[in-house]
Amino acid sequence: MAMADPDKPQEKATFARGPWQRLYNWLDVRTGIGSLLHEALDEPIPGGARWAYVFGSVLLFLFISQTITGICLALYYVPSADSAHTTVAYIVKQVTGGSFLRSVHACGSSAVVIVLLLHLTQTYLYGAYKGRRELLWISGCVLFALMLAMAFTGYLLPWDQKAYFATTVGTNMAADVPLIGSWLKRFMRGGNEMGTLTLSRFFVAHVFVLPAILIAFIATHVYLFRKAGAAGPPSEDPVRPRLPPQRFYPRQVVMDTIVALLMILVLALLSHISPTELGPKANPADTQYVPRPEWYYLPIFQWLKYWQGRYAVIGIVVVPALTAVLLVCVPFIDRRLERRPWRRPIAVGVFLFILVCFVVMGLMSIRDDRRDPSIAMQVAKQREETERFMGEPFEPAPAISSLAAANVALADPLAAAGKKIYEDQSCSACHGENGIGTNAGPKLTGAAAQKSPEELSNVLRHPTAKMTAGEMPPVDVSDEDLKALVAYIKSLK
């Protein structure tokens, strides 16, 4: 195909006999890579490449970056209330480059939200949803929601104070949804309270469910975009472009790449200079903690403060739902083909109004916290606690199985005496430490410990034929010691 491409006579002449061209031809015949590249790179852009068009590609790039860093983090992360915080602390404090990588992932989520808003704003102001692009717009709205859901579910995973309490508030809000509210809250939490099941659910959503749906919608979004074609500048006709087109490659590709590189640079610098911090482990008993969501949820957080009591449902459910519906329906409401923003005062006005409301509300939330001395003090205290935790060296978590068995025995003095006999008699040589069993002898935990004390005393004094065959000698101790030994074995359950 490449050979037959009339557009590239010079390339053909220069490369035709080169080894690269031969390799390319070989691949092209077998894969059709030529037409794929043509399809991907020669997309016509009416009016030519512009910096305003980079956001979609940058989002795709950020998604790939989040996927790769996310997979890396999963190498060391364990999603359970017992281990989550320890493993994240291990990543941050022990693993080579762990703090950096976690920061790139965490800051990356903020970057996604910022670039999403820029992408949305650009598309909206340019009227790029017009001209049979309704489905393209709707799939973009779905992607927006999915990304916010990714941010929400990922926030809980470190299981530190901040994550725990912010998610407690977030899931509490679900309870205000009419009819299914309390069910929805329990569904999200995996029960009435926040716990290890909540973490499992959020992990599965963040790592399996949402990414799968995201990928499907990204593919749909890109396909629909290519199907409709680039809309071009606002002066362009959205259905029948008139401006002279320019190919996607090379100008737009170079622009997209430059912004993506800048993005990496900013993320890497930010992660290097001020890495995302991990707070102390979640303590559900802490009643003082003042939870604050991530910055992009602050406007909603502030908004909800005004809706308490009977009318909460309006603020928490009705208004956000109406806003979302309005956003999704934009291409159906604003149907004229006019795209220039100054000719669409209502559409642009409403959009800017909502945008300004968001910014103002976010700023008000910050101002409120600074003005309230008790909150300012508590927030400062929380900062300090986080700093202190970050300053401490990594503390490995004791494996649950290791000391538990030993400690059980020590609770009962008779069993404790039995443990000493167990070791003095070298029972542990074959039956293992704390009766966990070895190659030489069976474990005593479980089944053996279920037997009655009389039965146990009896087989210890007079081993069965099977036991003797396994070289179990009769236990030769005083009756009192035997009682202690039996008590110890019973404690092994």
Binding site: K8, Q10, E11, E39, D42, E43, P44, P46, I68, T69, C72, Y76, S83, T86, Y90, Q94, V95, T96, G97, G98, F100, L101, R132, R226, K227, A228, G229, R240, P241, R242, P244, P245, Q246, R247, Y249, P250, R251, V254, T257, I264, F394, P396, A397, P398, A399, S402, L403, A406, E423, D424, Q425, S426, S428, A429, E433, T438, N439, A440, E471, P473
Partner: protein, 192 residues
């Protein structure tokens, strides 16, 4: 799919057909292609360095190890005349997990001001060997291996002497590194 005039719904085609696109100068196109490809490879390689270091962390640093365990104050063992059994808390690190277990060891009378420490595990088949006060010998209950007061092999099926554990004194505290050794061979070989 979007650019050609053969698109299915006829009226939905850009005014400009592919062939009327003004292509960039071809040498510029291929030069940029090489530049982009080269740049992608360089940046990609630079970006993958922290990822690879992150993923290979367990290979580049030790994540599993047994540290030194406290046995007791050196004063406790100054006047020993016979081996004495002690339990030590062994902490083993498995990435973020700390596995704590109690292990028996024998502290031998001091020699040159330093205590020696034996593992009670029989080098024959791994039974735990107790000190026999009456006979002043280590007697293995399983297959009758006999060891002297200093752990030297006297008789029985054991292929070598009892294994000595690495020990040191730090701030008057005797410390030991608990290890397991391969059984049934005449030389002492650490099991990792």
């Amino acid at each position: 799919m979007n650019s050609s005039s053969t698109s299915n719904d006829g009226d939905f085609s850009p005014a400009a057909d592919q062939s009327t696109l003004k292509p960039e100068s071809l040498t510029r196109r291929s030069f940029l292609g090489v530049l982009l490809g080269f740049g992608t490879v360089v940046v990609g390689a630079a970006l993958s360095v922290p990822l690879i270091r992150f993923a290979l962390h367990p290979l580049l640093t030790k994540t599993t190890e047994i540290g030194w365990a406290d046995v007791g104050n050196i004063g406790e063992f100054a006047s020993l005349t016979a081996p004495v059994k002690k339990f030590i808390r062994v902490e083993q690190l498995d990435a973020w997990r700390k596995i704590v277990s109690e292990k028996p060891i024998y502290v031998l009378p001091m020699k040159n001001g330093l205590p020696r420490i034996l593992s009670p595990i029989c080098p024959h088949l791994g039974c735990s060997v107790p000190w026999n006060e009456a006979k002043q010998e280590f007697l293995c209950p399983c297959h009758g291996a006999v060891f002297a007061e200093d752990g030297a092999r006297l008789s029985g099926p054991a292929p070598r002497a009892m294994d000595e554990l690495e020990s040191k004194v730090e701030n008057a505290m005797v410390k030991v590194r608990y290890q397991y050794f391969r059984q049934l061979i005449p030389t002492k070989e650490v099991l990792s």
